[in-house]
Amino acid sequence: MISKENVEKAIKKKLSFTAGTELHDRMLNDVMNAQEKSKKTKSASTGPRIGRIIMKSSITKLAAAAVIIIALMLSLNLWEKSIPLAAAEILANATEAVTNLHSIHINARMRTLPRDNFAYISLEHDFVPIEMWKRTDDLGLVQWRIDKPGRLVLMDGESTVLFIRPGYASKAGPSPDRYWYDSYWCGHILDVNKLLESELSKARLGEDAELFTADEKEIDGSDVLVVEVTVPARVDKDDYLRNKFISDSDHRRVYCFDADTNLLKSFEIYVITEDSEVKIFETTSIEYNPLIDDSIFTLELSNDVVWDKDPEILPDNEKYENMTPREAAITFFTACAQENWEEYLKFNSQSHVPQRTKDFLGGIEVISIGEPFQSGSYSGWFIPYEIKLRDGYVKKHNLALRNDNPANRWQVDGGI
């Protein structure tokens, strides 16, 4: 008797056919002919603006002439080779259009968590609004602010403050061009000229890993030039960090430029998954050179805010330095279980332990601590854990610990 499972197995494994040589040759030949025909039609109908862009500057003319000669010599199609050229030219024009930028205000939204860091993405979560401002005054003072419901990062010209609502803060700096606290991704967009320059240099290199396309469209009655960049993930398919950060996902960046002013009109990012594409980020408005009120770059914090500090070298520092990531995780959770907040602070260098943390982590029951692992380019370790909170809720997650600090002690970096 054949079972249902055997039928499934037989279809999966035994039912397969391969094309014979004659069929293969015939089909391939017809496919190539069809593609050739389609190319001819497409070349004839290619939009005039891209053509003009390709031929506009003298350098491009020379490059295009060279491409024509080489294409003729190698019997290649000109359109095929001119796409990165068109993308590069659009990007060059767009970079030029933001040369004299002294302020920018961007509204955007991103699939992430409101309180998580600015670089974290999540395909399953809803969009969270993000608002960003940056200005440089006549004396070169740089100020910027990146804000979402759960946290904000502010560079007031002297230092950068991270404020996690309602009451946790950290200070870094003074370097105004460094985007602290994982705000680099939003920072890239605020530095729109650098972002476009970086894409431009990649388009000019024409590297295969990052694929550029150029197109023109009509959106809401105005002409836009679209440059798309498709980028492979930095990490493997089964990596823990896969699709948790933009650069750790296969993704497509879509830049839309106003065809008349060459200014970036919108910017979108799609994460490419096995089944589909998920829009992960989009700008909703971009204002160039707006007047920004001084209050945007000012932050008043209450006295009971918990301040993050750099880990200092302690009298018993060696004990913590010599711990393995797993031992550090066990010690940390044991401190929480025993409500030993002095010990807790060895793993969280803060001014004090806020009451909400005590309420949340105090008296937990440690169910299991797993084997630590590393992922992507993150320099710390992830330690799987399972704990039971005082209210009975069982939390299963990965604790992130890192010790790349002056005291070389393991510090909790996330995953709570």
Partner: protein, 180 residues
Amino acid sequence: MLEDKLLVLKCKHGDKEAMCRLYEKYKDYLLTLAKGLLGEQATAEDVVHDVFVSFAGLAGQFRLKGSLRAYLATCVSNLARDKIRRRTRQAQVTDSMNPVIQRQDNPAQNLIESEELTRLRQALNQIPYEQRETVILHLKGGMKFREIAGLQGVSLSTIHGRYRYGLDKLRSLMNSEVEK
């Protein structure tokens, strides 16, 4: 997925090598699907041929939204359904028997194939087309039930039913062949 995306983009800009790679990657997969759906080698080859030629012809304007594999499988399935309908109409005109059951296998080919595979192919040809399509697209095409439901324009529960009934019928057909 990204590899397909890049290949499609290259095809869009006329890259012949990319088209060749896509063809090499999917030709046997599509042929297996078409043969499973139609049961007949020559028609299955025609379907795969037409799907690839049409894809190559439209590559300049093609925009990949989901998985290319699922897209091509859907094209094969649509064309196969057209062929079946046409075959049924022709059969009605010539007053012949059920065209699917009527289709006899090439004996020389049967010798090469294992007995079980022959039985499986014969059984597949005898179950209703919607059930066969569901079973083949899910098991060989790697398509999700949700995707097949969209393709057939029916509810997910109908697809679950078609899959279950299809497998039951296949099992009973194959078992009755064994008993003979």
